[in-house]
């Protein structure tokens, strides 16, 4: 047998063995679901608001995994876009929302006007509204994601979306202006 033939045969054998191994591994260690969609879903704010045009965060995560744009999540805002860009290694784009990024909000039911129709209860994706038929409803502010899905179904328009009030507890330090941002006259004044 010529050495060339030996080499070819050896390589062929190696290929077959490796192929079989890989094939076995592909079946044996198959991962469930779409792992990248899961990771994308973990970065989305889970408001289930549908502002991205998909019925919830998971469908949007799957759409992103399938190649959709990453800038369609207004509740997530810039931070989510950055995180997604980092995860998927794509160029971050500006947020695709007419009003831009909104501060976090919370639903508030004007309780005097509530007629107890339970429509908002059914609309809330995270069960953050308590109440019963012909009983007053109220929002559990800590559970509210601010998705405003409850505003539309309310027949008496008694639900407001209020900006989340700042408290001493959630106040945060602002980053100082980076050095060199002062104009010369200010600098002279400051010194």
């Amino acid at each position: 047998m010529s050495p060339v033939l030996t080499a070819v045969l050896a390589l062929l054998l190696l290929c077959l063995v490796c192929g079989a191994l890989l094939g076995y591994a592909a079946v044996r260690f198959r991962g469930e679901g779409n792992p990248i969609a899961e990771r994308i879903n973990a970065l989305l704010p889970q408001t289930q608001c549908g502002q991205c045009g998909y019925p919830g965060c998971k469908p949007y995560a799957e759409a992103i995994a399938g190649g959709d744009k990453i800038n369609k999540c207004p509740p997530g805002g810039e931070a989510t876009i950055q995180a997604l860009a980092g995860l998927l290694d794509v160029v971050p784009e500006p947020l695709d929302a007419p009003e831009g990024e909104r501060p976090p909000r919370v639903a508030y039911i004007r309780e005097a006007e509530c007629i107890g129709c339970t429509k908002c209860l059914q609309a809330c994706p995270v069960d953050a509204i308590v109440g019963a038929a012909r009983q007053m409803h109220t929002v559990i502010a800590a559970e509210c994601t601010g998705c405003d899905l409850c505003v539309e179904p309310c027949p008496v328009d008694c639900i407001d979306m209020l900006p989340l009030a700042g408290t001493v507890q959630n106040w945060k330090w602002e980053q100082p202006l980076p050095p060199g941002r002062l104009v010369a006259s200010d600098r002279e004044q400051a010194v």
Partner: protein, 764 residues
């Protein structure tokens, strides 16, 4: 013990001018009682307390006014007697200048205490009771962060004992002398407090660390400690040796692990002020309602330390110390290194405020504008946590959170040493604070998102389950309905013939009936489904229709099979037993006749055919004979009978005519001829009857006599009762009592009707 205790050193540190002398010239003063006290519900880290009092309520000094909001929280007490004038947002000592919920007490100046429960022999108390006393006294760390002391004392991971108790009297930050004067003047209480904590924890050793620039304090504490096995250690003055981790390192040489707590290395650190508060709480029964605070700075005429009630407005304290407002540049709560600039002077004193610094502009000039980092590395040299401040600075600028974490941003104690030495005047600590806040916020958002996701998913799951349950119920309902129908078909026959012996044909008939019902039901269902399919053609419906068609087919086949087994019995039950045989014979005869006729039709029958014809004719004759023998003799209608029949028809016609006329409401004149015709028809019938020679029928009802009202009513009632009973029987879940009642009612009415008919037989 002695000061020969071995000491270690921590990395970095700075030596800023201490500026402590001016405020230690006088002993601790008592601040005048303010007219109004503002007590923020959030006095420390952990959750805010929850108010226990209402507006207008009178409170006594030391009375609890707010309870601990959660496990990591501490109650709040009224610092003086008076009345609650407001509960709501009030100024709060915070950089942001935001308001925070607070209880406002207007003092009445009487300083009436509640009944205190002093306890001389705390050793007799169980540790839990002792801990509860400390918890209820609302003590939180008085050094700086203000962690609730009871929580700190109770937290013992892995059930391991604290082997070293460290008492922090270092007080390294410039200007602040509150702990210094406390140790000088209240060394006995301090030692008593330490004893209580030591009793609670049972540590192997107790180390009291005091910086060596406080010789009076060291001397006082040493005297107070006396023969007790506590080591009073004079540690070298270096900022920030008062930091918990740094002090532990100086005193024991052990480093608290990154991200961990002193309890992880079985050590616990308590501030001297906290120890005194523990003494007050346990021995005197007094809750924490006041603290010692240093009032200092060149803008004050009389820098001093005062013992002030919590909630005292800062402005009142400053004016007590002789504030010269013109000189004041900015007001700092805490020290110059770690303190916060207060945006207003109306904020109250809280449990963590150890110093009010009122410097002049020249004393503490505002930081010059920041310049770009020159990477000199001075910050790294002084960092007591051995971090890389300039790296952190760059990562913070770029919001590189992952890198910040990797460089242990959260081990930064925000001591400000790096910013102090920075030649570019970079506000480094602010960068770290902002970065920490940003990361925490992101984490919080992440947690909230995860929480929302879980809630969303559990909601989806719940909705799905509800839908499934509904579907199952629907299925169960239809099943029950079919079962009910089947059982009804059975029970309909059972109660009606409990006395008769169920004969085989009866059973057969029953089965046939059932099959018939099933077949027709299947047919109906199929038709319905087909109609549906015609309206909206979906694959599901198609499948359904196919299934239904199969079922209907099967039902039809089963019915046919049953029918072939035996023909359904005729409605009349009084059939003669040999009826079937007779019929068979008749059919045979008819068939033979057909065959005979066929053969006869042949024009040229062969010999065989002729023989066959002969044979068939013979057979036919035989059968005919038997038939004639079996069946009653064929009725030969006589002329008379024919006439009778005609007469009967005539009578019926006349009668109906008369009735029609009556119904039409015609008058007597019109009805008379009809009546006459009826009478004549009757006469004719009688004549015909006589002529026919047939025996006159027993009952000759010439006219239908109207039944009397009572029996009609009874009959109607009977019908209703029967219908009711049937309806009740049809239902599955009928109350047996109701069923019995209906049966009784039916029997009663039957009985009455019978009695009535017997009593009044003219109805028949």
């Amino acid at each position: 013990m002695s000061d020969r205790q071995r000491l270690w050193d921590f990395h970095g540190g700075i030596h800023p001018p201490s500026c402590k002398a001016q405020s230690t010239r006088t002993p601790i003063q008592r601040a005048p009682l303010p007219r109004r006290l503002v007590l923020p519900l959030s006095q420390h880290v952990g959750s805010p307390a929850e108010p226990l009092v209402e507006v207008g309520q009178r409170v006594l000094k030391g009375q609890p006014i707010a309870a601990a909001g959660s496990l990591v929280s501490a109650p709040l007490h009224a610092p003086t007697s008076g009345s609650v004038s407001f509960v709501g947002p009030q100024p709060y000592p915070h950089v942001s200048g935001m308001l925070a919920p607070a209880i406002v007490i207007d003092s009445d100046g009487r300083e009436e205490w509640i009944d205190l429960e002093p306890c001389v022999d705390y050793r007799a108390l169980a540790p839990e009771v002792l801990l509860e006393k400390i918890r209820q006294a609302g003590i939180s760390g008085l050094g700086g962060a203000g962690f609730p002391t009871a929580v700190k004392l109770a937290a013992r991971p892995h059930d391991e004992k604290i082997h070293t108790l460290i008492v922090n009297g270092a007080e390294c930050e410039p200007y602040i002398t509150a702990d210094d004067v406390l140790m000088r003047e209240r060394a006995a209480e301090l030692v008593s407090g330490i004893e209580i904590i030591a009793h609670l924890l049972g540590p192997e050793r107790v180390l009291i660390g005091i910086e060596d620039d406080k010789p009076e304090a060291i001397a006082a504490v040493r005297t107070a400690v006396g023969e007790r096995p506590y080591a009073v250690c004079a540690i070298p003055t270096k900022y920030p040796s008062g930091g918990e981790r740094q002090l532990i390192q100086v005193l024991t040489g052990v480093e608290v692990p990154s991200g961990g707590l002193p309890t992880d290395i079985d050590m616990l650190c308590q501030n001297v002020g906290t120890c005194v508060a523990v003494h007050d709480a346990v021995i005197l029964g007094r809750p924490l309602i006041s603290r010692i605070v240093t009032l200092t700075g060149e803008a004050l005429a009389r820098p001093m330390n005062v013992e002030a009630l919590l909630g005292t407005p800062v402005s009142e304290l400053l004016s007590f110390a002789g504030l010269e407002p013109g000189k004041l540049d900015r007001l700092i709560m805490g020290g110059p290194m770690m303190g916060i600039t207060l945006p207003a002077m109306d904020v109250p004193l809280i449990k963590t405020s150890n110093c009010l610094l009122a410097p002049t502009r020249s004393e503490l000039p505002p930081p010059p504008p920041a310049l770009p980092c020159i990477r000199c590395g001075a910050c790294s040299d002084v960092c007591p946590a051995s971090l890389l401040p300039q790296q952190l600075h760059y990562f913070a600028l770029g919001h590189e959170h992952e890198q910040l974490r990797r460089h242990d941003l959260f081990d930064c104690i925000e001591c400000g040493a790096c910013a102090y030495v920075c030649p570019s005047n970079l506000p480094l600590v602010q960068y770290y604070r902002a970065a920490k806040a940003e990361i925490r916020e992101l984490e919080h958002r992440q947690q909230k998102a995860e929480h929302s996701r879980q809630r969303f998913e559990s909601r989806q799951e719940r909705l799905r389950k509800a839908e499934e349950l509904k579907e199952a119920e629907r299925r169960a309902r239809t099943e029950r309905a079919t079962r009910v129908k089947a059982s009804q078909a059975e029970s309909a026959s059972v109660p009606h013939q409990p006395n008769t012996v169920a004969s085989v044909p009866d059973k057969l008939a029953e089965r046939q009936k059932k099959l018939k019902i099933e077949a027709s039901m299947a047919q109906v269902a199929l038709k319905k489904a087909e109609k549906q399919l015609a309206l909206h053609a979906t694959a599901e419906l198609e499948i359904q229709v196919r299934d239904l068609r199969e079922t209907a087919e099967a039902a039809r086949k089963a019915l046919e099979a049953a029918m072939q087994e035996a023909p359904p019995p005729l409605p009349s039950a009084a059939q003669p037993a040999d009826d079937a045989v007779l019929k068979k014979a008749k059919i045979e005869a008819a068939m033979l006749r057909v065959q005979v006729r066929k053969l006869e039709k042949l024009e040229q029958p062969s010999a065989e055919q002729a023989a066959e014809l002969e044979r068939l004719r013979d057979q036919l004759a035989v059968i005919d004979r038997t038939l004639a023998a079996q069946s009653p003799a064929p009725v030969v209608r006589s002329e008379g009978e024919e006439a009778l029949k005609k007469a009967k028809i005539e009578l019926a016609l006349r009668r109906s005519e008369l009735k029609k006329a009556e119904r039409a409401g015609t008058d007597e004149v019109e009805r008379a001829p009809l009546r006459a015709a009826l009478a004549s028809a009757e006469q004719a019938l009688h004549a015909a009857e006589e002529a026919s020679g047939k025996p006159a029928p027993q009952l000759v009802r010439i006219d239908k006599r109207p039944i009397d009202e009572t029996s009609r009513a009874l009959k109607t009632e009977l019908a209703y009762a029967r219908a009711d009973l049937h309806r009740l029987e049809r239902k599955v879940d009928t109350d047996p009592a109701a069923l019995d009642a209906a049966r009784a009612r039916l029997a009663d009415i039957e009985h009455r009707l019978q009695a009535h008919t017997e009593a009044d037989p003219k109805g028949d």
